[in-house]
């Protein structure tokens, strides 16, 4: 999670629903109405890099200091999704919710108390990680002839796991690629040893 991390930057571009708490004359363009004031109570989806600071910064001064915006959980982390994950983590194509789902959730948990979300996502990741490892090994293992080896490098298309693998979000994809490359490299090494 460095400053230069591309995936971290892309995660920060994920949008979350925000509600402005005060009228701001200059910011109408955020609500697609440049030149008009942005009214208090306007609901706008803002990227994390903007929403996070606007939600944390308070307007200062008096005792009832409040934030510029309040925010809700994005649709990707809505109750429906969480319920589906509880039922079967493997059945939910996370990528369709958000390509950076875990990163997004981490940000949201930093911003608010979402105890349950953390528990559900931890279980989700663990369950899916073993499934990912399983598929990664399968693809690496069938790489005897050239055709399937090429397929393997192409994120394991074909076969029963296709649907599941298509639904992996970015972090999981990385995991899959690492597991797959590892299995493949190990296999190649073993074959070389036998030859000698």
């Amino acid at each position: 999670m460095s400053y230069y991390d591309i995936d971290s930057i892309l995660t920060d571009a994920e949008k979350i629903p925000c509600t402005f708490q005060l009228e701001i004359p200059e910011l109408g363009y955020l609500d697609n109405q440049p030149g008009q004031p942005l009214k208090a109570g306007s609901k706008i989806a803002l990227p994390l890099w903007l929403a996070e600071m606007l939600a944390i910064a308070n307007t200062g001064g008096d005792d009832q200091a409040k934030s510029f915006v309040t925010f809700d959980l994005p649709a990707a982390l809505s109750n429906e999704v969480v319920q589906a994950l509880k039922a079967d983590p493997r059945a939910v194509p996370l990528r369709d919710q958000s390509p950076h789902l875990y990163g997004l959730a981490t940000h949201m948990m930093d911003l608010s108390e979402e105890q349950e979300l953390g528990v559900v996502l931890r279980k989700t990741f663990v369950t899916r990680a073993s499934e990912i490892a399983l598929h990664a090994r399968k693809v690496g293992g069938t790489g005897h002839n050239k055709g399937t080896a090429d397929e393997g490098s192409n994120l394991g298309v074909g076969g029963a796991g296709e649907e599941f693998l298509r639904g992996l979000e970015e972090w999981e994809r990385k995991l899959f690629r690492k597991a797959h490359d590892g299995a493949k490299a190990g296999k190649e090494w073993m074959e070389n040893v036998k030859k000698r």
Binding site: Y4, I6, I24, P25, W49, M53, G60, G61
Partner: protein
Amino acid sequence: MPMYGDLGNKLVQHAKRTQNLTHLPPYQTELVRTVAREVRDLERDVTSMLEPFQGSFDPSAEQATACTLLVNHLSMRRDKRCLLAYHRTRTDKLEELVWNGYDILDLSGQQQAGGANGATGMNEGGTTSSLSPQEEDYVRQYGDLLAAYKGHWTDIDLTGSLEPPRDLFIDVRVLKDAGEIQTEYGAINLTKNSQFYVRQGDVERLIAQGYLQKLG
């Protein structure tokens, strides 16, 4: 709904694609320029917004202005991060390529179809470089730096292959005219489509650059 930071995001998406490529795609001159211009515009807005306050701006009294300032500030910060990350991704790639034995001529002539087995660029007659002038300068200086560093150890080729060779001598086919090279056993004239049985160490770099193809 176009908003500040959107273009920066485009740059980062370019960077994301770059990470998975073996070659370096063309430098996004126009996009970089537009993002830099966006930062300048934001900065100008901030200055003009603060002007009436004569340095005595009180955020709690002027909440709406404070919020606008914060949004502008965050947008600038975001743009900066996108710009830096984009360039850093590219310089990382360039350093890697320099370590792999490419030099400035290979890289500046390099076209889209770099491919895994070397620069197929080097086409005579004005192919446009995928590097910005600053990047070309970077590669040149980084190459010098690496050469100076390698100079400390004359017995070891730091950029040589890590794979121990199975055979000292190999068959190679010449893919492109590479002129005459000197070896321990005399000079060889590498003309296109000819084949030679040569010492691997002598031609390793030419193979990496795509002049020669290893056979068998």
